[in-house]
């Protein structure tokens, strides 16, 4: 369950930023999670629930922004969306592609009360 360590890191980052901004609670946190990042969203929200008790993220709404996976074919240059790491290029059928996005794991923003 690496989602637990991921949740810990998210809390760390949020704690850092709220301390800097001098706010005590967060209304909403936006996370960008690539669809190929290897993170189970259910496991992550569960882990966040557990680790954020009595912290600055307690009760915070978690908004997950899916980042779709995109790749560029190494033989024909086609850029395409992929659902998994082993989809062939839709234009030429080659498997050699370079992932352009979809592995993101980022805290995008915190929304706090004024």
């Amino acid at each position: 369950m690496h989602e637990l360590s991921i949740a810990e890191q998210i809390l760390d980052i949020a704690t850092d930023h709220t301390a800097r901004e001098g706010v005590a609670s967060v209304r909403e946190i936006e996370l960008e999670i690539g669809t190929l990042s290897g993170i189970e969203i259910d496991a992550l929200t569960f882990a966040l629930d557990v680790v954020t008790k009595n912290t600055v993220l307690d009760g915070t709404k978690v908004t997950i922004i899916d980042v779709p996976a995109k790749a560029r074919c190494e033989s024909c240059g086609e850029e395409f969306l992929l659902e998994d790491y082993f989809s062939p290029c839709p234009a030429c059928g080659a498997f050699q592609s370079e992932t352009l996005q979809g592995q993101e794991l980022r805290v995008k923003s915190l929304i706090v009360d004024e």
């Binding site: 290897g38 082993f86 995008k108 929304i111 009360d113 004024e114």
Partner: protein, 264 residues
């Protein structure tokens, strides 16, 4: 809850110890109270704070520090990952014995609970430190840093890091290694690379172990490689039987070549 390993109980604190050492130091206390006290959102507009930070930033930064240290000391660090029982420890034991001190090898053993693997490595003749992750399902760069401080690997050596047997979680955590080696055994089914693509995608070498068992199995070696190449076409394969010794030459040659390349 523990910052480094994400474990949930005090008994599961990460411990780092040398093989043969009885005591272990717990690095951090886990003391949390889990009272529920939900904050309530208000209706008016909030203010947005742009964070734009990689969630793995801390691990990645520390991994780069480890990498710099290994580079400066000319230590070739390998991260060995696989599902449980593919033969990581067996491969290390045989590697240490066959090298016979010609190329110094030190080992960091990651395991949730036991000292067994570290004891096996010590018997094979290499300095070893065991990291017990408790409930943690992977090593991270901080655990490796702490283990390295305990281990003090010599310059111009190879540092083998045996990760926790798990094909999912370790894939996200850079340890500062030069190469990631995924070990797959022929008893596991050809579709492992498709089921755990992140791990095969992030590795550079795939050791296919237990080939001595091929005559007794329906395992389709070519199919397995084909699947792995679909996930990562840069992957290079080394087929071995740690048991019979077949293919060990190719593995040791690869290892020596990597050491030589690191020096150049």
């Amino acid at each position: 809850m523990c910052d480094t390993c994400g474990c949930t109980q005090p008994d599961d604190a990460v411990t780092i110890r040398k093989a043969g050492e009885e005591h272990h130091h717990h690095d951090h206390a886990h003391d949390h109270d889990h009272a529920h006290d939900h904050a309530h959102a208000h209706d008016h507009e909030g203010r947005s704070i742009a964070v734009e930070t990689d969630i793995l930033q801390k691990n990645n930064l520390l991994a780069e520090r480890n990498r710099g240290y290994f580079l400066a000391k000319n230590i070739l660090a390998l991260n060995l990952v696989s599902s449980p029982g593919s033969g990581k420890t067996s491969l290390l034991e045989r590697t240490i014995r066959e090298l016979g001190g010609g190329l110094p090898v030190a080992v960091i053993e990651g395991d949730q609970q036991t000292m067994n693997d570290a004891n096996r490595i010590r018997e094979a003749g290499a300095p070893v430190v065991q990291v017990n992750t408790g409930n943690g399902c992977h090593l991270d760069s901080d655990m490796v840093l702490r283990a390295v401080r305990e281990l003090q690997p010599e310059e111009n050596s190879v540092l083998m890091i045996e990760n926790v047997g798990n094909l999912v979680c370790p894939s996200l955590f850079d340890l500062g290694e030069a190469r990631r080696v995924v070990i797959m055994s022929v008893t596991e089914g050809e579709d492992k690379p498709l089921k755990y693509p992140n791990m095969f995608r992030s590795s550079q070498v795939c050791v296919i172990n237990k080939i001595d068992l091929l005559p007794h199995l329906d395992y389709d070696l070519e199919k397995a490689k084909e699947y792995a190449l679909q996930v990562n076409h840069h992957l290079r394969f080394i087929e071995v039987s740690v048991k019979s010794g077949e293919g060990m030459d190719a593995w040791l040659t690869w290892l020596r070549d990597e050491v030589a390349a690191a020096k150049a």
